[in-house]
């Protein structure tokens, strides 16, 4: 670092933003408790914390999406009143979201121009393009202006999102996990451009992240949140990864690890030469070979959008393979209800409310999805009549065993919090005899304690001899849980390693499609 990030120059365009004593109360729950954060003009500030630590709540208060219960926001050292996001935009505060907000069918140039609040009703494209060229000439990075956004790579889209904010005149930028959809090399490129913009005094940046590497490589200062409270802050140069980890997680002993028992047994799930079209219909999913043995967790790592969703759909019978063989316990498997019951296969899809629950149906009904048609002892066929008392008894049992918090088992399941919905699905899927469990991003969006209890349940299942296939975009989760790690890239399994001898940089290299 040859220029001091904290030096202020006289023609500094970047804005400083300070939040003082921010408290945000949702009912009985304090999402933010007296948090202070100061982003000096022209600095790159990282906001670190686990899921549910209050990072999003804090930036939403700064951006005017939420109105803090108490506390003040200062922009360029003047107190401001932010009643909605438009106020923030007027003050030059902009936000780049985790997911793209571009119109895929329009070109980059069109996206930029229509994003302006003062875009005229009739656009003189020639004149606007000229102005756009002049604007881009001053920017440190280039993107193809006249291609539809749908044809751009993820990294280019992310750059375009940042360009859009600069074009709109933002002087303070919030980046919400900007690299979650990028490969490591794309991420480095985008972030180094952002850093050079802060060093030039064009913008100040607050980046939400949970990746230490990004903090040390790019940020000047860091603020750490834990459970809504400020757990620490300081100059990145003064802090080690261990310091940050301690601030973020608190006492390390809280994370009690379940002992692994060596129980690996027979092959339960086997995929051979399975091919299927992907979501866009332009590419193919191609799984040459994949197997999971009983008592082991096989983790599939990969950047999102490399075929994990399609693989999950193939395994759940939602996507028909073109070719190849899927077998469970050596028998061909196509995920019909009969087969699911016979081979004792259970699923935990990602975003359980969208993929595993009927939101408007009651908690009791949702908990009965696996067993409402179980054949009674001594019968040969599924029952014709639905047994409501059995459904209610089943629900009462699961609710107490898995500590699901709900006002009544007759409430619609969509009224529950994310952690309780995930616990409900977990209760349904892990009750009874299970031989194969297929999981996708089980902890996405859950708070720290929910994550710990869910991972513990998964490891318990493994120790009881269940074969587990875990698809996750969270590499830390894969490393924590897996016995064997595979990498999925471009629709294929490109790398395999034992968890004990796993080399993170090697895994990252393959996740980035270098193979």
């Amino acid at each position: 670092m040859n220029t001091s990030p904290l030096a202020s120059s006289s023609n500094m365009k970047a804005a400083s933003v300070e939040a003082i004593n921010m408290t945000m109360q949702f009912g009985d729950f304090k999402a933010l408790d007296n948090v202070n954060i100061n982003i000096r003009a022209g600095t790159f500030h990282a906001l670190l914390g686990e899921n549910g630590a209050g990072k999003s709540t804090l930036v939403k208060c700064i951006m005017g999406f939420y109105h803090a219960t108490s506390g003040d926001v200062l922009v360029n050292e003047k107190e401001v009143k932010l009643s909605d996001p438009k106020d923030a935009q007027v003050l030059g505060l902009g936000m780049v979201y985790q997911h793209f907000t571009l119109v895929p069918s329009l070109t980059a140039a069109e996206n930029l121009i229509i994003s302006r609040a003062d875009a005229p009703s009739i656009i003189d494209w020639k004149a606007e393009s000229k102005k756009l060229q002049d604007f881009l000439a001053k920017m440190p990075f280039k993107i193809p202006l006249h291609q539809p956004v749908s044809q751009l790579a993820a990294g280019e889209k992310q750059k375009l999102e940042i360009l859009k904010q600069l074009y709109l005149g933002s002087r303070f930028l919030i980046l919400d996990e900007p690299t979650s959809v990028l490969t490591p090399s794309e991420a480095s490129e985008v972030l180094s451009h952002v850093k050079s913009l802060t060093q030039a005094g064009e913008i100040s940046v607050l980046m939400i992240t949970h990746k230490f590497r990004e903090v040390t490589d790019f940020a000047d200062e860091v603020t750490v949140l834990r459970r809504g409270q400020q757990a620490g802050n300081g100059l990145v140069a003064d802090l080690t990864h261990d310091d940050m980890a301690l601030m973020m997680v608190g006492q390390a002993s809280e994370n009690k690890t379940v002992e692994r028992q060596n129980t690996t047994g027979d092959i339960i799930l086997d995929l051979t030469s399975v091919t299927a079209p992907d979501r866009s219909g332009t590419k193919q999913i191609n799984i040459d070979h994949l197997n999971v043995k009983s008592g082991e967790i096989v983790g599939i790592a990969g950047v999102s959008g490399n075929g994990q969703t399609e693989l999950m759909e193939i395994l759940t019978g939602q996507r028909q393979p073109l070719d190849g063989r899927i077998s469970v316990k050596d028998e061909t498997y196509s995920a019909t209800r009969g087969e699911v019951k016979k081979y004792r296969v259970r699923y935990l899809p990602e975003e359980p409310l969208q993929n595993a629950c009927a939101g408007k149906m009651s908690v009791a009904e949702n908990l009965a999805f696996r067993n409402f048609d179980d054949t009674a002892i001594g019968q040969t066929r599924s029952p014709f009549w639905k047994n409501n008392s059995q459904i209610n008894a089943n629900a009462e049992k699961m609710v107490s065993e898995f500590n699901i918090k709900t006002t009544s088992i007759h409430s619609p399941i969509e009224a529950l919090s994310g952690g309780n919905i995930q616990r409900a699905v977990l209760a349904r899927e892990l009750t009874g005899d299970v031989d194969l469990l297929i999981i996708s991003n089980p902890c996405f969006g859950l708070d720290f304690s929910a994550v710990a209890s869910i991972r513990e349940r998964i490891l318990d299942a493994r120790n009881n001899g269940v074969a587990i296939l875990l698809l996750s975009e969270d590499l830390d989760e894969i490393l924590e849980l897996s016995d064997r790690i595979l990498v999925m890239s471009d629709g294929a399994i490109t790398y395999e390693t034992d968890a004990t001898s796993a080399n993170i940089s090697e895994i990252g290299f393959h996740m980035a499609g270098q193979h």
Binding site: K341, G359, F369, S382, W385, K386, S411, A415
Partner: protein, 369 residues
């Protein structure tokens, strides 16, 4: 022992306020929508210089006041009950099927074409044959809509609407050609049913044919199927979230085809009763818009098969009054359609209101108690 049981039920009933009140939402919102539709229609009447109170008192008079008006209302209710089921059953799987009119036309045509050829059989044999044949034809027609949806991803709403036009055209084609009674000059019809084969009235004092009974039984059976059986439970899962149903390995395709076919079969049966009990032959009178009114009824009843029964009687009364309104108020026949359209738009708009009122939320009531 009995005392303990009593206190137990008492505490349960106090607790269940938070269970019962949220369920009232499903009744309160459609009711509000209907009243809103009434209000907008009243405005419409005032604008064209007619009195809304005259209108509603005439509806009462023609639809619900005397034995004769009840007779008029209830005879229309029979096909409407069955046509509404043709919308409500697929709706349980999340499908919007609006082509019941086509299944009524083809069910009626089947009965009209086959009926006269079975006159040598005793009617306890011939009528069930016709009943089943009409149901099968209607079921196959709407079942095809489900099949197209599952196999080819064709939008069921558009497919069913367009197939209704085809069905009506097919019916017209056949009653004007191969199945035409040479004696039917002005109004092409199939050969008339023998008197002995005509379905008579129910023994309830007014002249209402057995189709009403069949319609009510069909509604009750449909409700039992959906609410009390595992099959209906599976269908509701698939209708609420198809991805969750697929992950559970439920046979979504079979359920869709089965429920659309069953709905179509009910509409086909409506056609059978129209021919065997009302018209005596298949002709253009079958196309009376029952299939379309059935859509309104199903939506008003929120696709609850039991709620279809009272809603049908209300709507049938309105339809029954259209003649009297035409004569007394000097309003065109289409006035009732304007009214139904306004109620329908109000119902569709009211769909956006669910979950917006705190008073219906479980949390609100659990906090109070």
């Amino acid at each position: 022992m009995s005392g303990m049981a009593a206190t137990d039920t008492l505490s349960k009933s106090a607790l269940s306020l938070k269970v019962i009140i949220p369920k009232l939402e499903a009744v309160a919102i459609p009711l509000f929508a209907v009243i809103f539709g009434f209000a907008v229609f009243s405005l419409f009447l005032i604008v064209i210089g007619k009195s809304p109170s005259d209108f509603f008192s005439l509806v009462y008079k023609a639809g619900f006041s005397t034995g004769f008006s009840w007779q008029n209302t209830l005879s229309r209710a029979a096909p409407l009950l069955l046509a509404a089921l043709c919308v409500a059953l697929p709706a349980k799987l999340g499908l919007v099927v609006i082509g019941g009119e086509g299944a009524i036309a083809l069910g009626g045509l089947t009965a009209g074409a086959l009926g006269p050829h079975l006159s040598s059989l005793p009617y306890p044999v011939s009528l069930p044959i016709l009943f089943i044949a009409s149901a099968m034809v209607g079921g196959a027609w709407i079942g095809t809509v489900g099949l197209l949806r599952i196999k080819r991803g064709v939008n069921e709403t558009i497919a069913s609407l367009l197939m209704a036009y085809i069905a009506i055209a097919l019916m017209n084609h056949f009653i004007e050609s191969v199945f035409r009674d040479p004696a039917s000059l002005n109004k092409p019809s199939t050969l008339p049913f023998a008197e002995a084969m005509r379905i008579g009235d129910m023994p309830i004092g007014i002249s209402v044919h057995w189709g009403l009974f069949a319609g009510i039984i069909a509604c009750i059976l449909s409700w039992i199927l959906i609410e009390k059986t595992t099959l209906g439970f599976a269908a509701r899962i698939a209708g609420s979230n198809i991805r969750a149903a697929q992950v559970q390995g439920l046979p979504v395709g079979k359920l869709v085809i089965g429920f659309t076919a069953l709905g179509g079969a009910f509409a086909g049966i409506a056609g059978f009763y129209e021919v065997a009990a009302v018209h005596g032959s298949a002709n253009a009178s079958l196309i009376a818009g029952y299939g379309y009114t059935g859509i309104l009824i199903a939506f008003l009843a929120r696709h609850n098969a039991l709620a279809i029964i009272p809603v049908t009687i209300l709507l049938a009364g309105f339809e029954a009054s259209s003649g009297l309104i035409q004569r007394r108020m000097d309003l065109p026949d289409a006035t009732i359609l304007v009214f139904e359209g306004m109620v329908f738009v109000a119902i569709l708009l009211s769909e956006t209101l669910y979950g917006r009122f705190k008073i219906f939320s479980t949390n609100y009531w659990s906090k109070i108690s």
